[in-house]
Symmetry: C2
Subunit: 563 residues, 2 copies
């Protein structure tokens, strides 16, 4: 606090105001997505901002309800309670509480690295799958229906005037929001506003549909004609309540809390990192865990649901000039003021407006480009992405994520299990050695130099052994084998056993085995084994020296007269 500079205040104030206004429709929309009353979204936008400001490491990230955690709350809780019931709300609060405790504990235990085990294809697949699920969940709201109709015929048979009204409002809202996203800023610039101001005003466009929606519904009394509205919202700030969850709920919420924590963390860290890069700052994953944990504890304490860093709100925050977490505090104050003063009016807000806000936000998350890119780069990664997305869609969020993690681990093992082993020779008149199959190189007649291009571990020991024996078959005059370990960063005990047996096998054929370019850490570990100690021949610092030395040794035999 002492270090706060007055020059930062202007930016923080503007950003706080803009983000505060912008996230009102968002927060309500994501609460609706989570199957909760819309004010819960607003409650979840107060304390979390303060909690994150206290512990988080990103100066400009804005936390609150986001689409993915909204969806996860809905799908993880729906087997446990009826959406909209008091039990359901209680479970949603406890889910935030449990996830806050977990994230905070993970931060204290410095377990931030765990998020590294989610590969990009898994994250991208998950986001795309979740986005499709969200779109599917909101489409019926565009027609004013409580859920998907059994058939198109049923939809037409049950069609009423109110459905037409809702669909009309929905399409207008969608149109306005899309225009705000793609054309409004340019239009505002054309009428003379600065680029920055035009951009900020465009971000506030969702508020226009909210205000218009409320006004129209109220004046035309559309709620009475069957247009689904948000319904009465208690005025004022949420009461701070601590309710200790019972054991049975805790147990059933454990896995959901792990998953929502993991996803929130990965999402938030990647957002925080991309923000930090823009400002040339750096973030600390373990402090991010603490910040997110505090944010979720704050959400639970004020009767909100699970929160996480949001990409659009954080971008707007930084674009509007936020310098410090004070911007977040001001955003929270704006929402608090709205809750105290204007909450009762939101009762007339048509649900379809919030559905339109959600649809416009999540459709761009369905990312076919990343699928195409992953597929082109590596089939296994494309399949991982596709598998995760389909898993999320067809089997559910938990199963999809687990399936994705399994796919990416199996792909990694699979790659490691098929090592590239090259017979190398000297590039003429140099000290370099290259693959005989890719380059014109010189080899020694009785020396077989093999470069193993993979760590030697259980999944590939057989393959490495086979490749070596195969090379011996191709070069039957071999007297000395040189293994070049420049690309071997680790040898596990299964690999060591194989190498030891291989050395014995070669010895029986009267062939010596030598090593070159063993890396420091590998040598440290092998130092005390029988293999290095007794079984093998020499260990050379470079292939060049090994070639010179062994070339002579191998050619010493009577049937071959010198070089």
């Amino acid at each position: 606090m002492r270090q706060y500079r007055r020059a930062w205040l202007g930016g923080d104030l503007t950003a706080g105001l803009v983000v505060g206004i912008m996230i009102i429709p968002q927060s309500m929309a994501y609460a609706m997505l989570a199957g909760l009353p819309v004010q819960i979204g607003l409650y979840a936008s107060l304390l979390p901002l303060l909690g994150y400001a206290l512990f988080g490491s990103s100066m400009t990230m804005s936390v609150g309800p986001v689409a993915v955690t909204g969806l996860m709350t809905a799908t993880l809780l729906s087997p446990l309670a009826v959406a909209g019931s008091a039990d359901y709300l209680q479970l949603a609060i406890w889910l935030a509480l449990l996830s806050g405790v977990m994230l905070f504990a993970f931060g204290l235990l410095r377990l931030g690295f765990l998020a590294n085990f989610l590969s990009h294809p898994v994250i991208n697949g998950f986001i795309s799958g979740a986005a499709i699920l969200i779109v599917l969940s909101q489409l019926p709201k565009l027609f004013g229906l409580p859920g998907w109709p059994d058939s198109p015929a049923a939809l037409l048979a049950g069609w009423q005037r109110s459905n037409t009204v809702v669909l009309g409002m929905g399409l207008l809202a969608l149109g306005w929001l899309l225009y705000a996203r793609h054309g409004l800023a340019a239009q505002l610039q054309r009428i003379g506003l600065s680029a920055a101001l035009a951009g900020l005003l465009a971000k506030l466009a969702p508020l226009v549909v909210v205000v218009l929606g409320v006004l129209v519904t109220w004046r035309a009394d559309l709620a009475a004609q069957g247009v689904p509205v948000v319904g009465s919202i208690p005025a004022g700030l949420p009461a701070l309540v601590w309710q200790t969850p019972d054991m049975a709920s805790l147990r059933s919420l454990l896995l959901p809390a792990v998953l929502i924590s993991l996803v929130s963390f990965v999402e938030s860290v990647s957002i925080a990192q991309s923000l930090a890069r823009r400002k040339r700052q750096s973030i600390d994953p373990d402090r991010e865990l603490l910040g997110l944990g505090a944010a979720n504890l704050g959400a639970a304490l004020s009767g909100g649901f699970a929160v996480c860093g949001g990409f659009s709100r954080s971008s707007v925050n930084i674009e509007a000039g936020a310098n410090t977490p004070l911007a977040g505090v001001i955003s929270a104050a704006v929402i608090g003021l709205i809750l105290i003063s204007l909450a009762p009016m939101l009762a007339w807000l048509p649900q379809v407006v919030l559905a339109a806000v959600i649809l416009v936000a999540v459709v761009p998350l369905i990312d076919l480009a990343s699928l195409r890119r992953a597929w082109r780069y590596d089939r296994a990664e494309g399949l991982t992405l596709l598998g995760t997305a389909l898993g999320v869609l067809l089997l559910g969020i938990e199963a999809g994520i687990v399936l994705g993690i399994c796919c990416s681990i199996i792909a990694q093992l699979w790659r490691g299990s098929r090592p590239h082993v090259a017979v190398v020779g000297r590039v003429p008149d140099t000290h370099y050695f290259r693959n005989t199959k890719r380059h014109l190189v010189e080899t020694e007649p009785h020396l077989l130099a093999l470069r193993i291009d993979e760590n030697i571990f259980f999944a590939n020991t057989k393959a490495v052994e086979q490749a070596i024996y195969q090379a011996l078959g191709d070069y039957p005059d071999t007297r000395e084998v040189l293994l070049i370990l420049s690309a071997v960063n680790h040898i596990d005990s299964t690999g060591l056993d194989m190498l030891s047996e291989l050395t014995e096998g070669l010895k029986e054929r009267d062939i010596g085995l030598h090593l070159a370019e063993v890396k420091g850490p590998v040598m440290d570990q092998l130092q005390h084994t029988d293999w290095i100690g007794r079984q093998i021949g020499q260990v050379f610092p470079s292939t060049d020296i090994a070639f010179n030395t062994l070339g002579k040794v191998a050619n010493r035999a009577p049937e071959h007269s010198g070089e």
Copy 2:
């Protein structure tokens, strides 16, 4: 068959006879261990030998009931039926059938490589854990008890004369078997036999306790006094019966069959490989699958239970001079003759004799040396071994194996997630580049050369990025970064995304990024990416050339006057 040489016949005949006699007690013992009537063990020693002879690739491996598959049959089937019941026997036969079908199908599909995913620590841990389970299951039999007493007090309270008799017989049998294993051969040599003959006779020692046990129990009518005996055995060969399993049984046997197939395959392949090495032959894992599949189908067809390659029987086979699978056929004939002629007499065989045979066979499998070795080589591998063994002991065989596989995969990822990244410099007056922390080397003032000693993939992208930024902090004057990829055999899409962001980050600081020693396969994959195509600077074939070129470029700046 046409290629059979007459010179092989002598060895095959001897080996066939010796192994045939030797495996009679073994087979009965392992059937008892599996919770089956002892003759089932003999039935499982006939057709499997022929089936394997037809399809297998090892010339000298002997298949039949072994301790580990006996134990697995018992633990996998005990939740499904009462040991000793007709249902239980039927399930055991179907388990062999299903496992035979799977192994044969895997062989046809050439899935032999799947066994590579069992690392040595997992296999060793599993064998040790299973051996301890077997010992625990046989100890009560040493006291003539049906199972473990509730307490030592209960044991003493219920003690009867028959318990003393059984314990006495058991200790005598154990003593004899241990002597046969460790001292008998030397003693026989001392009385003038050749080393080979003495060794073979010592292997037949178990038959002596079997014969003595039958004679004593019969003469003293010990069965009537409460000494548990094997009980009546139907004389003659088993009828060949094909019974199609019902769907419910098939479903419950599916996972057990997968596990028993996997373990049998791994066991058999490692035995076959060590045998093949002794005779300088080679084996084909896919043909081993076919051979084992046929063996298990044979076992099922003749009313036996699951079989696999046995280490002791195969060693004896090779030591006794076996040259071809004909030896196995002769062993089968020996057992068939015993079944036809002597089976009824085995009714008097005390169970404690078989328990002694089992104990002497499995205690050496509890392998503390491999735990010590793994622990010393790498803590993670020691923990994997220990975790597998404890998992098998405390959670059961399935859970233990799965736990072990998970441990070894996590250990592998964990290693990969902590890459060694070295700042390198030139070894004076050479073309070699080494870690600045381990060697006295020369560096260029504005060039940071980093060697990344690990494949770059999702689990370590953050760590690699961090290491590079850390090195930049240590060398703040850096103008050009050179990544030496000699030890990078693969870059996944998560890694590529990181490298691409890193390059942008460096560009913002006005630092260039270049590559050296990119491996052929890595370059092939990167060829069409934006990263190689547009973002990075130059790609050098060797660090030497890169150092010479970039050293000059980096030092071009005014504040530094040439080299």
